[in-house]
Amino acid sequence: MLGDNDGILSGAHFLDGDHACAEGAIAAGCNFVAGYPITPSTEVVERLAWRFPGTGGTFIQMEDEIASSIAIQGAVWAGAKAMTVSSGPGISLMLEHIGLAAMTEVPCVFVNVQRGGPSTGLPTLPAQADMMQARWGSHGDYEVIALVPNSPQECFDLIIHAFNLSEQYRVPVLFMMDEVIGHMTEKVVVPPRDQIKITPRRYTKLPPGEYEPYRAGDDLVPDFAKAGDGHRFHITGLTHNEKGYPVMNAECQEQLVCRLVDKIRTNVEQISFFHEDGLEDADVVVITYGISSRVTMRAIREARKKGVKVGHLRLVVVWPFPEEYIRRLAKQIEAFVVPEINLGQVVLEVERCAAGTCDVISIQHAGGAVHKPRTIYDAIVEAVR
């Protein structure tokens, strides 16, 4: 199947999350993907390998995930919009390069179709146990943005948003799917080209000789330049000054690393993205993300039938965490219920923000399946008793 000139397949499709993610990447203008096969993410790269030649994109299957995660960064410096796709074990291998992308401010997207871990774990079954890895996985202090879709349609819509955020803030964006979302097939509507909003890369307008790759303005995000444009810039993963040259001392470290962190931390409100349902008079609020949000909707429907005042806060952007918002919410309610397919990760952030002002109940699941709606229902009912 060859697309139109942009390769965007506008119309309604019946697609699984992996395929929808691939189509969303094409719609976002992604034209370079390097990857390595790993269940349950392989379908994303399979589709791109098939589709890219018709859309002007390049796919290369690299020798491993380490190579994939840095080949995309070479491609970005050549002017491409790039992403790589993997799952637990592969993402673990890519972590150093998530740090490189954060340090050298490379806009790119890492898709993680989460499966059960640790180690080889459960290749074909879901988990949400890489959420803290997404936030803290690479060494050093840095910030990333992480989005979590809960349907194939969102795999399409939000991967575009992921690319846009990566361009706006020049950060690696982690796209945290899971096996259920990746392999679940639903209707996916691809809008017409002119209804897809794309954040273009902000290239420098300065002439060669004046451009400094890491001189940032008020928004703390430096303008971009690509290799071959005549600027003769230097890029390094070492601590560097505004010219991009290595300067290894405490002052330069503070200046650089604080800016890398602040460009996200000072924009949490702009980046935050969540869906609220019935929070106004809620006694208990269930905080969810990804597939767990859908299981929770069923549980909440049942609980409301019993008269429980329960609200639902679904995080689409999990990192940066909406701290202030959760802090305020904690003061209005009796309890948070946090179901996750892990043994308690994002709930730690909720506890930190609630800081004892309300109860925080962690509904844990070791992975391999989603929660039973009944489990979440019981926790909701228990929380207001």
Partner: protein, 299 residues
């Protein structure tokens, strides 16, 4: 007191003078290779804006930072996949990977063999000083048998890689080895490598007098250059299986491989043109595939 008139460094326009002095030790051979590379570039590359240099980590990894080109100092061992992505995303660029033996062949060994296998359109210059120098002289996969390093105080027990043989057997279309003594031959080899389509590889044997030479009682940098002069055997076209390096044994130098085989980009282009809508692909190709102008070396 007599004044010598200041002589301009002939390759100064290719160096980031503001970053001098460099970090390399007195007697180190890396600077010599950079000088040769700069001369090769002056000689053979007409469009410096499109010449990109990518390094990994280590002493040689710092080369990228001293050249006045778009330059990338990436992560340990990963210069080759970075360069592969850069080149695939903009085939107009001439991409050179310039790094050390530990970076390219130990931690980066998997990328090295696969880039050679797929005949990626990059030039790889490997400065081989037989040890990890930045971290203080540990042994690596190129350290000769019985040589001493901080992590092998009683002498190496493992057979080292023969890099020309490794490169050729994996599919490199150009393979040469010279020592830091052979500046003219090295410059020519770099120029030929830059002119090659596909995976070209130049190994340069250099002294690391601070660590490797000192620990193995091989003398100063200057002694070592004299030794290279007297103990290099130039065997152009020799079977690369004969290029093993042993401690205190003669070093085989020369141009070993110079063949033509379709490069990764050429293979992709040919495949896509044959299976996809030819017109669309040709339009894309016209826009993307113009290589930068290169000149063969004079003389």
């Amino acid at each position: 007191m007599s004044m010598t008139p200041a002589v301009e460094n002939p390759v100064e326009q290719l160096l980031r003078s503001e970053r001098m002095p460099h970090i390399w030790c007195p007697g180190c051979g890396i600077g010599t290779t950079v000088n040769c590379f700069a001369r090769a570039v002056e000689e053979c590359v007409s469009d410096l804006d499109n010449l990109i240099i990518v390094s990994g980590i280590g002493c040689t990894g710092r080369v990228a930072g001293y050249l006045e080109l778009d330059s990338f100092h990436t992560t340990h061992g990963r210069a080759i996949p970075f360069a592969t992505g850069l080149k695939l995303a903009n085939p107009k660029l001439k991409v050179v990977v310039y790094s050390g033996d530990g970076d390219l062949i130990a931690i980066g060994g998997n990328h090295f063999i696969h880039a050679a296998r797929r005949n990626a359109d990059i030039t790889v210059i490997c400065v081989n000083n037989f040890n990890y120098a930045m971290t203080g002289g540990q042994i690596g996969p190129t350290t000769p048998l019985d040589a001493v390093g901080t992590t092998s105080p009683y002498g190496v027990c493992e057979r080292p890689f023969n890099l020309p043989f490794l490169a050729e057997s994996c599919g490199a279309v150009y393979v040469a080895r010279w020592t830091a003594y052979h500046v003219r031959q090295m410059t020519r080899a770099m120029c030929e490598a830059l002119n090659k389509r596909g995976f070209s590889f130049v190994e340069v044997i250099t002294p690391c007098p601070t660590l490797y030479e000192r620990r193995n009682r091989l003398g100063s940098g200057l002694d070592r250059m004299q030794w290279f002069k007297e103990n290099s055997v130039i065997k152009n076209g020799v079977d690369t299986r004969e290029c093993d390096i042993a401690l205190r044994q003669k070093i085989v130098c020369g141009k070993f491989v110079d063949v033509d085989r379709p490069s990764l980009l050429e293979m992709v282009e040919a495949k896509m043109a044959s299976v996809l809508h030819r017109r669309r692909w040709e339009r894309m190709s016209r826009e993307q595939q113009k290589p930068i102008a290169m000149r063969p070396m004079k003389g």
